[in-house]
Every structure is written in C-alpha cells, then in structure tokens.
C-alpha cells in the first residue's frame, strides 16, 4: 500500500494549463476551515468573505474564467459560528459545515454529543462533521461504534454526515479499514481522515486504504460514499497529489464536491500563489492575496 501511495503521485505530473485547471477544481472541492480555540464571529465573517471571492479579479480575468464561478464547496466552523456563517454565505450556495460531537476528541456523554448535532442543524448547518471516539476502534467495540454513528446519522436528519476517523490515532491500517466500513454501514455520507488536531493527519497511505474501503463498499452495496482528507494539506502540490489519488483509485466521479472534499485552511492561499505564478511567470507572495 505504501509503495502504491508513493509512486501514485510521481507517475504523471500535472503542469501548465492542466495544473491551473486542476487547482481551480481543488478550490471548488474545498471545505474552507477555521477551527481554532480563539475563533471569533469576525474571523468567521472574514473567512466567508474569502469563500465568496476566493480569487482576485485579475486572476479570474487572466485565467479566462468568464462567468464560471469558482468557490469552495463549504465553510467549516465550530458550532457557535454556524449562524454567523449561514448569514454571511446567504445566496451563494456554499454549504455550512459544523464540527460536532465533542470535536476533536469525541469523549463527552453520548446525549451531549447528539444534542450538539441537533443544535448545529437547528442553526442552519447542512453538513455535520462528527468524530468517533478512537477508543471504540482500539478496543474493537465495533457494535458500539456502529450504534453511535447510526444515532449521529439519525440526529443529522437531512444534513450530510461526515465521519472523522482520526486515523493518526488508530494505530494500524487494518483499524482504518474496519472503522471506515463500520462508519459507512452506519450511514456516513463521507468518511474523513482526521480532525487536523492529531500529530499525524491526512497522509496518502491512509487515504489509499480509505478509498479502497469506499470502493469495496460500493461494490457490495451500490452506494457511493464521499471522502474527505483533512489536516496538513497546505500546499497546492499536495492538493494535486490527493486529486490524482482519487482519479486513479475511484475515478472521475470522485472529483465532484458531493463525493470529495479537502479540509483546509491555508491551502487556498498557496493555490492562489500558484495560479498567479501560472499567469505572470514570477513567484507570488502570500500578502498579495486576501486573507482566508
């Protein structure tokens, strides 16, 4: 698996116009995220403003995008900022995702975690990112894990459910595979690698296992489940690696926002810099682009 993950990204390099096109695709697959302990309403509003206009006007013109609107798929925040984000993004079609169930550890009482989901949905979040207690996986308590995720699913109602496995803390790839399968069986719309708070976040070998799990699940049930790597994806190059992984392992269909997302905060700035470089031929600086 590790060899496949290593060679996958080196087989074909995406350059020039193709690179620009893939990077624009990466923006449209992004969950623009702020998950800091010191988040404020103002910061969330700034992030939403960035989501509305992710690229400078001259870049949009230079790339010849015309009327094509490139925007992130969603903005991802903590529960207290859901209402702020919903208001700030009104009319854009950008989804609001809330992390929930005692993110990032998932260790508060089950009723509390379920109530948290309901509160975020009530505030207008249409995507819920839940975390699983890693102990259930490490202790092989699969039935318990299934039951918890099923209850999360029920609490979400119409909202999309993304299940964060916290793969950096699951010890083995085998655990990642089993946790992915159990989560999908219990009703996850997406499986997501990490919270971004573990010491090891989204890495390609784990991504490969999870895409294989998604493929196996589709073969058995016919249901397509989405995938979201998150944490540590901060460069344009890394984002292309993930897109290549999806295209090679699951096919073109998994390059659409209903089946693939990046969880990212600083990735957008790097993509903007690369796009400017593509247009001008000289390297860009972060301060030339609006803050995310």
């Amino acid at each position: 698996m590790e060899r496949r993950a290593t060679t996958l990204t080196k087989r074909r390099s995406i350059k020039a116009d193709n690179q620009a096109a893939w990077l624009l695709r990466a923006i449209s697959l992004m969950d623009l995220t702020t998950l800091n302990s010191n988040d404020t309403d103002e910061r969330v509003r700034r992030l939403c403003a960035k989501a509305r206009n992710p690229l400078r006007a001259d870049l949009i013109a230079g790339l010849g995008l015309g009327d094509t609107v490139i925007r992130p798929a969603a903005v991802c925040v903590y529960h207290p900022f859901v209402a702020t984000a919903v208001t700030a993004l009104e009319g854009t079609g950008i989804h609001v995702a809330a992390v929930s169930t005692a993110f990032p550890h998932g260790l508060s009482p089950l009723e509390t975690r379920i109530a948290e989901i309901r509160a975020s949905v009530a505030d207008g979040a249409d995507e819920i990112d839940v975390v699983i207690p890693r102990g259930l996986v490490l202790g092989a308590k699969w039935q318990e894990l299934y039951d918890e995720v099923a209850q999360f699913r029920e609490a979400c109602g119409e909202a999309h459910l993304k299940v964060i496995l916290g793969t950096g803390e699951l010890s083995t790839l085998r655990n990642v595979m089993l946790a992915s399968m159990v989560s999908m069986m219990a009703g996850a719309d997406f499986i997501k690698t990490s919270t971004g708070k573990e010491s090891v976040n989204a890495v390609l070998p784990v991504g490969l296992i999870m895409t294989r799990a998604i493929r196996a699940y589709e073969e058995r049930t016919g249901f397509k489940i989405g995938f979201k790597p998150a944490g540590g994806i901060s460069t344009a190059k890394a984002s292309l690696d993930w897109l290549v992984l999806m295209k090679e392992e699951l096919g073109r269909r998994w390059l659409e926002p209903d089946l693939f997302r990046f969880g990212a905060s600083s990735l957008l700035t790097d993509i903007e810099r690369q796009l400017e470089h593509h247009l001008t031929g000289h390297y860009s600086a972060a301060h030339r682009h609006a803050m995310a």
Binding site: G281, H282, Y283, S284, A285, A286, H287, R288
Partner: protein
C-alpha cells in the same frame, strides 16, 4: 590532519579522494537541488575541483518560503542575534586554516591573501555582531512640539548575490549585516567558486543560526538573480555581478518594488568605504518613524 583536509579538497589527488557533491542549504537542511543536476567547479588553473548542486528557480522558490517562515530570527532580540553572530565568528575562526586552503586552492590566490580574506571575513562577522544591538535608530527633534523616534526594522527576506572575486569575504560582507539587523537571507554565492559557500553552511549549521535564516542556493548567477528579482516575496536584493545581470535585475524587480542595490557591474572593495559594514547596515533596515507629540 592537514594532509587529510587537503586531500579532501582536491579532486585530482590520489585514490584516497572521496567525491562528495555538496547540496544546497535550504531551511536549515542540506537539500538536493529540485532538478537533481550538478555543475562542475574548476579551480583557477582549469582543473576539476568538484561539483555543486545546480539550483533552479524552484530551489529559489523553496529557499524564499523557508526564509519567509523563519520569523523567529526577526523577532529575536538584538542581543540574541549578536550572540549568535559572535558564535558564528568564533566557529569560523576555528576553521580558518581550512577556509584559507580552500580559497587558495580554488582561486589561485596566494596563501597570504587567502588568509587575509578569511581574517577579514571573521572580523566582519565580529563587527556585525557588535553592531547588532547598536544600530537601533535615532531620535529626531522635528520643528514641532514632538519628538520622532526613527526605529530601524529589518527589511524582511533579502536576496544576496555574491561576486566571484573574494568568494568568502564578498558573501560574508553582505550576509553579516543582513543577519545582524534581523533579515533572513537567500544567498546565491559565486558561481565560479561556490565551494567556499558550501563549506560555510557547515559552520552556519553549528552556530545556532535558526533554520531558514540563511539559505544558500548554488547555480548560475544570472538565472538565479532574475528569479530573486521577479519574486514578489523577496523584500530586498543586493547584487554584485556584471552590468548586464545588474541591469536585468533592476528591470525585473520594478513590478514588485523591492529594494534593490547593485554594484552596477563594478567590483566592490570590501576593505574600503563602499564595501564596509555601515552602508550595508543601512540597506538592511527599513526606518519606521514614530511621532510622539507633547504639550507645554
């Protein structure tokens, strides 16, 4: 020991020579050039003296990112920067013989003048260390009821393109003041004799210089200078090179308004007034004026 050092520096020696291509120095790490190419270095007599990494625009890109990320150096107290520069000067002193031998072997300079170059470089480092906490600015008394504090702040990321003549002193004379004032540096050493600079990063590594504060990219001067000039995230550029390279850099940097100083194709006398520490300290800082009005 001396013989071993000498044999390691000579590629035309006997079978005991161990070939080692020095890498680039980016973000505190010795890294292979992105393109994985090397370029040959010849001594003054035209004999093959070794290889160095052939840096490209992508290596400059990485070096600038590393320099930009090295915020700790600009934020360190001037006192702390002085201590680190003293330490660097001391560590270079310990290896003075080795550097003098390298310079003599490469450039064909006499032993005496090679020694002189190393000694001047060490002195310049001590001098810059001494000035690190003594060039903080001035207080002006403007014709109003106010005083104005003129505070010297680092320019930011400074690109340094060093000349072939006096490959160690030319590099150190620009590196030392830039570091003393809290800038982080992307240095392109002499393309003809870069082995002196690749020796130097081994000293940098052991002198508590934080990762990314100094980055060294060996390669073709004109090409790399152009990338630095066009790069939006480089705040200053000091260039000692031929007049065509200097002129091109000035033109290419107009789009981003970085502060460019070039030697206009002239050689710089590093022991004279123009090549001394003071003018480079001035170039290494931006002045921030703080007006403090007062009543009667």
């Amino acid at each position: 020991m001396r013989r071993l050092a000498a044999s390691l520096q000579r590629s035309d020696g006997d079978g005991s020579f161990i070939d080692r291509t020095p890498k680039l120095f980016i973000g505190g790490k010795q890294t292979r050039p992105d393109g994985n190419y090397s370029m040959a270095v010849h001594d003054a007599k035209g004999r093959h003296a070794g290889e160095v990494g052939l840096g490209s625009r992508k290596d400059i890109r990485d070096a600038v990112s590393a320099a930009r990320a090295a915020k700790g150096w600009a934020g360190a107290t001037a006192y702390n920067r002085a201590q680190v520069l003293y330490f660097l000067a001391e560590n270079l002193t310990i290896r003075a013989d080795e550097f003098a031998a390298r310079i003599a072997n490469l450039t064909g300079a006499s032993t005496k003048s090679a020694r002189g170059e190393v000694e001047s470089s060490i002195e310049r480092l001590f001098e810059a260390a001494g000035m690190a906490d003594k060039f903080e600015g001035t207080v002006h008394n403007p014709p109003a009821r106010a005083v104005t504090l003129a505070l010297n702040e680092p320019v930011g990321v400074v690109g340094i393109v060093a000349p072939d003549e006096q490959p160690l002193l030319g590099l150190v004379a620009m590196l030392a003041p830039a570091l003393a004032m809290g800038n982080s540096v992307v240095a392109v050493p002499s393309a003809r004799w870069p082995l002196v600079a690749t020796d130097l990063y081994q000293v940098l590594e052991t002198s508590d210089i934080p990762a990314g504060a100094v980055n060294i990219v060996t390669g073709r001067t004109g090409e790399l200078a152009g990338v630095l000039a066009k790069h939006d995230d480089v705040d200053g550029l000091w260039l000692v090179a031929d007049s065509a390279t200097c002129k091109a850099a000035e033109l290419e940097s107009t789009g981003n308004l970085k502060r460019v100083w070039t030697s206009n194709g002239q050689a710089v006398d590093w022991n004279g007034e123009a090549g001394s520490l003071k003018p480079f300290l001035r170039r290494a800082v931006e002045v921030k004026n703080v007006w403090v009005p007062y009543g009667d």
